[in-house]
């Protein structure tokens, strides 16, 4: 079970989806092409909260294990997010728990 570029692209796509819980903010992912990377900037409520890089010149089966480190998730959870076993709601809650973004009181569960 290796986290590949294909998984990283799926992760980026999934982060943009609307969360099911209405009290959670929606994430915005801005792609910036710089050097060897396609940098995925994650924004929330107008703030730049996190980022990870995808190597744009690499093959789709190339390992992108660093994405899990950048998002401070275990490799297993990162893989689960990419293949849809972990929801975007859970990811936003993880971001809040790790202190990447500040949720107003009304957003806290």
């Amino acid at each position: 079970m290796s986290f590949t570029k294909s998984h990283a692209l799926d992760t980026s796509k999934k982060l943009k989806t609307r969360p099911r819980k209405q009290n959670l903010p929606r994430l915005e992912v801005r792609e910036v092409r710089d050097g060897p990377h396609l940098i995925q900037q994650i924004w929330c409520n107008g703030r730049f909260v996190n980022q990870f890089g995808i190597k744009h010149a690499s093959r789709r089966d190339n390992s992108h294990g660093w994405v899990a480190r950048d998002l401070e998730l275990s490799p297993h959870r990162m893989y689960e997010f990419a293949i849809c076993q972990m929801t975007v709601d859970e990811m936003i809650e993880h971001f809040a728990a790790r202190g990447f973004l500040e949720l107003p009181e009304t957003f806290l569960l």
Binding site: S2, D34, G35, I39, N50, Q51, G53, D70, R98, G99
Partner: protein, 152 residues
């Protein structure tokens, strides 16, 4: 020219029968040799243990290094490497240590340039921390030089 004569079956000498003690000794020697070969193979294989290096240049035309950056290199199961600047929470990777380090350098330079243009009000808590760390280690390059990608 003399031709070698074949020995008759009667005159051919049989190898001496091994004593049980000698056979045990040979078996033990073979086992030890096998173990030594395994140890030698493990020693000559590329390192599977994470290690740390210090990077004093990013090979980036617009970003310089104020003080050496501690970079952790971790081998992946598929033979590739992940390079991380743990303090800033930024990582990248490559097929070799050199490529992973270069790739991380490009990522750090790019992040530095992006974050320098944004004010703290536009940054979340993590990115504010990242900006503070990058400002401690990096600066705009006084002598721009062209970036070169490492060759494997």
């Amino acid at each position: 020219m003399a031709t070698p004569t074949k020995r008759s079956k009667k005159t051919a000498k049989k190898p001496p029968a091994k004593s049980p003690a000698l056979a045990d000794l040979q078996r033990a020697h073979r086992q030890i040799l096998g173990k030594l070969e395994t140890i030698l193979e493990e020693c000559s294989a590329p390192s599977r243990v994470p290690f740390c290096i210090f990077v004093s240049t990013l090979a980036h035309p617009e970003v310089g290094v104020i003080k050496p950056i501690p970079v952790t290199i971790e081998p992946e199961a598929d033979g590739s490497f992940v390079a991380s600047f743990v303090d800033a929470g930024i990582s990248s990777g490559g097929d070799s240590v050199r490529e992973a380090t270069w790739s991380l350098g490009q990522m750090l330079a790019s992040s530095f340039q992006t974050l320098r243009e944004l004010n703290d009000g536009q940054l979340g808590p993590k990115m504010r921390r990242v900006k503070a760390v990058l400002l401690e280690f990096l600066c705009p390059s006084p002598n721009p030089t062209p970036s070169t990608r490492p060759k494997n």
